[in-house]
Every structure is written in C-alpha cells, then in structure tokens.
Symmetry: C2
Subunit: 235 residues, 2 copies
C-alpha cells in the first residue's frame, strides 16, 4: 500500500531519470574526436562524476558560497583534464564539454512515467543541478515539471536538509506530503530524516557493478522504473 | 524589429495572462451564495485587488519579512470583509475564498500564445504570486513553463530590482537577454531600469476604464495579445 496523503513527488535527476554516463561519454567524444583525441570516454565520464561529491562538499561545508553546479562541473573538469592528457585544450573547448550535462537522455520509461504521475501528483526535480540545467534536460526529454526545485531554490546541495524542506515549502506542503524518488539510498535516507516519504527507483544500469540494485534503508516504495512507480502509487 | 539576443520571456500573470477580476468574482459568488450572501461580486474583487500593493509594500519596505502572496491575500481579505458585511464568516470560509486566486482563467489567446513562444524562447512567470499559486494557474490553463520564477525565488516583490535580476540569473542570462512582458507600465519601467527588454501586452479588459490601453513609457514591443507578441517576435 502506498502511503496516503502524498501530494508531490520530488525526483533526483542524474542517474535516477537520466543516463549521465553514456550521455557525457557521447558528448565528450563528439567534441574531442575532431581535435584528434582518443581516450576512454566512459572512464572520463566516471572520473568527472567522481569529483561530484567533493565539489559540492566545498559549498555544503561553508568553505565557498553557493555555486551553481554548471560552474562546479567546469572546475571539476579542469581538475581531471590533465589525467586524460587534455591539459592543452583551451578554455572555450572545456566550456563546450561542460554542456555535456545539459544534453543527457532520459531512461526510456521516464517521459511517459512522469506524464502519468503528473496526472495525480505535483512533480518537480529536487536535484543538485541548477535551474537552467534542469530546464535544458526537461526540454530535451519532454518532461513537464510543475516547478524546478532543488539546489538553486535552497542555495545549498543535497543531502543538506534545507534542500528537501525548501522544496516542500515551495508547494506549501508538509514534508510528509512529499515523496523523494531516487536511485540512491543516501538521498532517500536524508529525505526521510526530514520527514519526507521515499521511493527507491532501481537503476542498476547507471554504473554497472557500482549502482545499487536494492535500497540500503527502509523506504515506502520500491520501483523498477517511473512507470512501475506510477502503477504502485495508483497513478 | 524585435530586439535581438533575447533568450527568455518573463510574464506578469495577474491581469496580463489571467482575468483575476471575473475569476475572483465568480469564485466568491460560488462560495458565498450558499451562505445566503448577495453582494456586488465585481466590487468585492476590485476591493480585494486594491489591497494588493499596500499588502506587498509591507514586505518591500522591510516592515515584515517575505511572506507568500497567498498569506497576504488572506490578510487583505480579513481587512475588506467588514466592508461587505462578511465579518461573521468563519476562518475556514475565508480560507476557501482565498483559493479564488488559484482558480483564474487565462485570457483566451494565452495557452496557444505561450506554447508558440516557448518554441523559440525560455518562458517563465515573473509574478508576485507564490510558486504553488503559479503551478495551480498553469495546470488549470495548460501553461507549460520552463520554470516558476518571480517573488518566491527573490524573496521580495516586484517592482524591486532583485525580482527581475534573480529571474535572469536563474536562466544564466544577462538582463538584456530577457524580456519582461506585462500589461502594466510600472512593471515594465522597473524591468527596463534593470536592463531587461520590455513588451507591453494590452489588456484593456482587465479593469475597463482603469486599465492602460497603451504603455506609459518606451517599450521594445507593443502587442495586443500573446499571439500578437509571438508574431512580432517571429515565433
């Protein structure tokens, strides 16, 4: 039985809704091949993503003020470039590479699954991505969000409690009226500690061998896809 | 010739996109008639709206902290209720009346006009209405916004500069890449002073005899509707 009283669904985006790994690898290859580079594109995507949590931690810890993820992605890229022999690339090319994160494709269930869920619930991304990044992914993949919530609204990054609480407040809801939906237990554990309901959406294909296949904590719903989530929530 | 380099259109909502006067009058009548009240519904809508600027001025002046428009609307309602003999109504009925602002209909050109503009531009409301209020109006009228910007994002009310500037920043644009579209010159004058481009959309039907039929300042575009705006912007 899904929890009653839920009015809004909040979605993690990178990994849960969109395939960042294949998308980043594809875009980087597209940009760098004409410059004569041949590297392990998937390894490059993984290396970039590995800088993700440390990059945001500087903001979460208060070491630097809130900084949009686009800008952090660009800094992370500068950090990993030398490891892949890319230290000669000029700034404009690195800027172009950073657009990779705006051009990711959704897992195939997502456009229809979100549309079905929106018939019954308010839906919003609660991602660490900045507003324009979320808008670009929505346009590319035909998501119709009610609002763009998440890091830019809270001026901090998940899993800080304010990010979940600011999202609930934007919809004038209590945390228990909101459900966080993500492929990562750490996100769900933090949301639950703020009082939100939780749904685990399994994405073992995010990083095969690394990604979670089952939640590492108690959650309210376990789903195999957004379509499955819709079925389990009666939407 | 429309100005070049514009990437995003920001819309005022009350009056510019939706008919608050007829919508509020209709909802108030629907709620109060069963309670045996018969008042001048249009006059009631006008009286409520007259409290709009003074209500927000308390926030703009720093006299009270940022407060969502839904809550201000409820306070304004308590102020005007005695003038209409409604002082006996209990709080729950007044709460229900306040939902009037969530149930307004768009002027008939708007759904198609916005859809057409969205093919070429990022579009967002930059209204003094809070996020959920904007979401409810969007769902009712089939608007597909890229994001909900405006007062809740800036934590202040138009015509304070921060509201326009925070909206541009959310889309990673400079003010000159954004165009404020409104039926009220005061809104456009403030937006222009922040560097935004401006479009006047005439809505003489908003409050016949009171509403502007032409802009009171230089603007970049003058349109008779959102469809006309789309034509003039080449969308």
């Amino acid at each position: 039985m899904p929890p009653s009283g839920v009015k809004a669904l909040f979605f993690d985006v990178f990994g849960t809704l969109v395939d960042w790994r294949a998308g980043v690898a594809r875009h980087v290859e597209l940009v760098l091949k004409p410059h004569g580079y041949f590297i392990d594109w998937m390894a490059f995507a993984d290396a970039w993503r590995e800088r993700y949590q440390p990059g945001m931690e500087e903001v979460r810890s208060g070491h630097i003020p809130y900084t949009k993820l686009d800008i952090l992605h660009r800094r992370m890229l500068a950090q990993i470039a030398p490891r892949f022999g890319l230290e000669q690339l000029d700034g404009a090319v690195l800027d172009g590479l950073t657009l990779a994160w705006h051009r990711l494709d959704a897992w195939k269930d997502v456009p229809a699954g979100l549309a079905r869920l929106r018939e019954r619930y308010l839906i919003a991304p609660v991602s660490n991505g900045n507003t324009l990044l979320m808008c670009d992914l929505a346009r590319r993949n035909n998501f119709h969000w009610d609002a763009i919530l998440g890091a830019d609204v809270a001026k901090d990054f998940k899993p800080k409690p304010m990010v979940y609480l600011a999202a609930a407040d934007a919809f004038d809801l209590s945390p228990t009226q909101c459900m966080m939906c993500a492929a990562h237990s750490s996100d769900l554990i933090s949301a639950a500690s703020c009082g939100l309901r939780t749904a685990f959406i399994a994405r073992p294909q995010e990083q095969p061998g690394v990604s979670e296949t089952a939640p590492a904590a108690l959650v309210d719903v376990i789903a195999e896809s957004t379509e499955d989530l819709a079925a389990k929530l009666g939407a």
